[in-house]
């Protein structure tokens, strides 16, 4: 096995990695800016310099020359080399700043150069707190500055596009953004202009940086040069908690992190997953966070005397049970949802079975032509694949309408969807029959005819599993607290959330913005109980284990297996 010695410690090497990537993988931290594993290597920031030596080989025999102790004679390259561009080779000896003064000096000097024209914007810069330049200056830079001249001034508040703001002074010309638009998204909308110290990235005049993946440059920019117009000045990074989860705007299930402060989702950033979205997110996923904060319902409601009235949860359960008891149970239409988790849909299916109604169906939300070949799919829901695997199929509109007209449907139970809003039914058609609804938003049009409304927790508030369009099962974790007490959710939120919330005795403790909603996997067993039926009452984790063991198409999809990056499920053909 090839070996490399870094700072007198020997490591085994697999494959042909670049030295910097190898160091980062084994935990040897090296400062760098312009290197990004997904893009070409320009080696222009010059921060990752190290001293590299290779064993001297005898010209004729090819044998490694050794000294008196039997150690290979190492010939060091005369200049320091950038570790990001060097391939690791067997017998290589590397000295980082930890064991070489020259390298330490080089890294300090480089940071000094970076900071001479960099504006002192930390107090007003969004990047502060997660800024590689800040962190590396603190760790590897010199104290103070010897620069006593006026810094170069460049345009500071340039709207490159509707979602990306440029501050050219902060730019360190690492060219990550232009490489992204040239190599990854191929939109060619950014270029570096001018020459020398006047360099900065810009769109050519007349072009707007509006490509559907434009906000990715914000994440890869190592300084605060490219920031989000939407998120600008909203919150500091250390005020927010970040929770690993997935996005739900489409069926790709791109991995993301939800950033929450005071129980409001403030932004969505990509999370690395080589199998799904690598390092990227489409803009449509990022700008969708408003839906978690706005137009959320104010607790369960029951229609009395024609108006929806706020009630407690137990009253709501009883009202729902009453409505269902008042009709022929076999004629209840259950509508599952591709917005809801696998566990939710599974429980709904069980409820339907227990009641004696037909298997639930779901309303597909597909916009043909929307897909690009990357992270945007036609399917605008995150769990259609999951529903299919459970045996929940798209609703046959014609059939359902004929059933409704023929009096075959006496009640509608809608979980986390909007049949009137999506045009399946009209208000008149549903007005006379009981409708029980798990809505996300107050703008749900079915509320106009709902008899019982039980607000449902959205993806940021629940625990559950989603199966994406490629058949990958991924689980989500709660980022936003709900009003009620739910032990599973509270445990999942874990330590990373507690200090952001504080205890009720802390000054910054905040009860605001908690929605009075519950996950469907908690509500459905309660409804069943009110009906006198029994549904599994376990946690989603136990539920999912059960599903993985009993349902074909979910084999292997346990929470432990899914972890942070999900589990690839087998391809299934036509599911009965």
């Amino acid at each position: 096995m090839p070996q490399v010695t870094i700072d007198n410690k020997v490591f085994d090497v697999e494959g042909q990695p670049k030295l910097l990537q190898f160091c980062l993988d084994v935990g040897v931290e090296l400062p760098h800016f312009c290197y990004h594993p997904a893009m070409s290597i320009p080696a222009n920031c010059r921060q990752c310099l190290v001293q590299i030596g290779t064993p001297v080989k005898d010209r004729e025999t090819g044998e490694i020359k050794r000294d008196d102790n039997g150690d290979p004679i190492i010939q060091y390259f005369p200049k320091l080399m950038t570790s990001c561009s060097v391939d690791v080779s067997d017998g290589m000896v590397v000295k980082t700043h930890r064991s070489s003064d020259v390298v330490d000096r080089a890294q300090k000097d480089n940071l000094e150069f970076l900071l001479i024209n960099h504006p002192l914007d930390c107090p007003i810069c969004d990047q502060a707190g997660h800024c590689p330049l800040q962190i590396q200056s603190y760790k590897y830079g010199s104290e103070g500055s010897r620069f006593e001249f006026r810094k170069v001034h460049k345009p500071k508040k340039v709207m490159l596009g509707p979602r990306v703001m440029l501050d050219a002074e902060r730019c360190i010309n690492c060219t990550r953004c232009t490489r992204f638009t040239d190599e990854i998204s191929k939109s060619h909308q950014l270029t570096i202009i001018e020459r020398g110290v006047r360099n900065y990235p810009l769109t050519p005049p007349g072009v707007v940086f509006d490509e559907p993946y434009s906000m990715n440059v914000i994440d890869i920019c190592p300084v605060g040069a490219l920031t989000s117009v939407d998120f600008r000045f909203r919150a500091r990074i250390w005020e927010m908690s970040s929770t690993p989860s997935i996005t739900v705007t489409n069926a790709k299930g791109s991995n993301c992190e939800y950033w929450v402060r005071d129980n409001l989702v403030l932004r969505i950033t990509p999370r690395q997953n080589r199998k799904v979205n690598e390092y990227w997110l489409p803009d449509e996923d990022r700008t969708a966070y408003h839906m978690f904060n706005e137009n959320r319902p104010d607790g369960p409601q029951v229609r009395r005397e024609g108006k929806l009235m706020r009630v407690g949860w137990q009253d709501a359960y009883r009202a729902a049970a009453d409505r269902l008891n008042g009709v022929d149970r076999s004629k209840v239409l259950f509508l599952g949802s591709a917005h809801a988790t696998v566990e939710d849909n599974y429980l709904l299916k069980q409820l339907a079975e227990a009641i004696g109604a037909d298997v639930p169906v779901y309303i597909p939300h597909v916009e043909p032509g929307k897909a690009d070949e990357w992270l945007v799919t036609d399917d605008r829901t995150p769990n259609a694949n999951g529903c299919e695997r459970l045996g929940i199929h798209p609703v046959d509109e014609a059939l359902i309408r004929s059933k409704l007209e023929g009096g075959e449907i006496e009640a509608v139970y809608v979980m986390e969807d909007d049949p009137i809003g999506s045009g399946l039914f009209s208000e008149d058609e549903l007005r006379d029959i009981p409708v029980i609804l798990h809505p996300y938003h107050t703008t749900n049009e079915t509320l106009a005819v709902a008899d019982v409304a039980l607000p449902a927790a959205m993806v940021v508030e629940t625990v559950g599993t989603y199966v994406n369009v490629d058949g990958r099962a991924q689980r989500v974790r709660p980022a936003k607290a709900i009003q009620g007490v739910n032990r599973t959710l509270m445990m999942e939120m874990g330590a990373s959330r507690q200090d952001k919330h504080g205890t009720p005795f802390d000054r910054w403790h905040n009860e605001s913005n908690r929605i009075d909603c519950l996950p469907s996997w908690q509500v459905l067993p309660e409804i069943a109980e009110s009906l006198g039926l029994a549904l599994p009452k376990g946690s989603p984790k136990q539920l999912m284990r059960q599903i993985a063991e009993t349902v074909d198409g979910f084999e292997g999809a346990t929470y432990d297996a899914m972890g942070l990056s999900g589990v690839q499920l087998v391809e299934v053909g036509e599911i009965a």
């Binding site: 006026r150 810094k151 170069v152 001034h153 460049k154 345009p155 340039v158 050219a168 638009t181 060619h188 909308q189 950014l190 270029t191 570096i192 202009i193 001018e194 020459r195 110290v197 006047r198 900065y200 810009l202 769109t203 050519p204 005049p205 007349g206 072009v207």
Partner: protein, 223 residues
């Protein structure tokens, strides 16, 4: 004598006004054919971008964003690529310059041989500072880096074209006068000192017949 410009980089106009009309902003069939020939000299479409930008500058006089976009479209390359290339080099004019751009070399040898004196004389004679254009739009003065004519220092170049060697105040006056009359300075073949000794002067018999490079002013190019 202040070399250092105030280090303020301006933002290029992101929504620039159109300078050329739709009729003017086209390449003729001949020009397109020429660009096509340039492209055949390189295995990729981008290779010909520098030659195409020169052609565009010769036609339009300078390279506003719309012309760069036109060139990029003609070549079939991204607009950002052509724009990045155009802003990298100093000889591509991004703004309308005077009819005659006087690039005075003040670097190294020319500095030591009076290049700055010539620059200041020129500034005084034309009444403008380095980097500006005269009000009548005839002259722009620029201070440039080494032009590769150090043996005949001080010297200047007229609009990316002919060199004017061994400047003196009289020569400057003569140059300005003839330029005002619309006459470009002639091509001068710099005689090697060894030729001076061994061949009694310049070795070329055809130097006078050389036509110098010109960037036609906008109006003329359009006709």
């Amino acid at each position: 004598m202040v070399f250092i410009r105030q280090p303020i980089v301006e933002l290029p106009d992101q929504d620039p006004e159109r300078i050329f009309s739709d009729d003017e902003l086209v390449f003729t069939g001949e020009e397109k054919e020429l660009i096509g020939r340039f492209q055949k000299q390189y295995p990729t479409p981008e290779g010909a971008v520098m030659k195409a930008l020169w052609l565009a500058q010769e036609k339009f006089g300078f390279l506003p964003p719309e012309v760069i976009r036109l060139t990029a479209d003609e070549l079939g390359i991204p607009y950002s690529l052509a724009y990045g290339v155009a802003t990298f080099y100093t000889q591509y004019y991004k703004e309308k310059m005077g009819r005659y751009v006087l690039d005075v070399c003040t670097c190294f040898s020319c500095q030591m041989c009076g290049g700055y004196d010539m620059l200041h004389l020129l500034e005084k004679k034309l009444g403008i500072h380095e980097g500006e254009t005269t009000d009548d739009g005839l002259f722009s003065i620029q201070e440039v880096e080494c032009l590769g004519a150090c043996g005949t220092a001080p010297m200047l170049q007229v609009t990316n074209g002919p060199y004017v060697h061994n400047l003196t105040e009289d020569k400057l006056d003569g140059l300005i006068e003839s330029l005002r009359a619309g006459k470009m300075p002639p091509f001068v073949s710099v005689t090697l000192p060894q030729d001076e000794d061994e061949m009694d002067g310049n070795r070329r018999t055809d130097a006078e017949a050389v036509e110098v490079y010109q960037t036609p002013p906008r109006g003329l190019a359009m006709e």
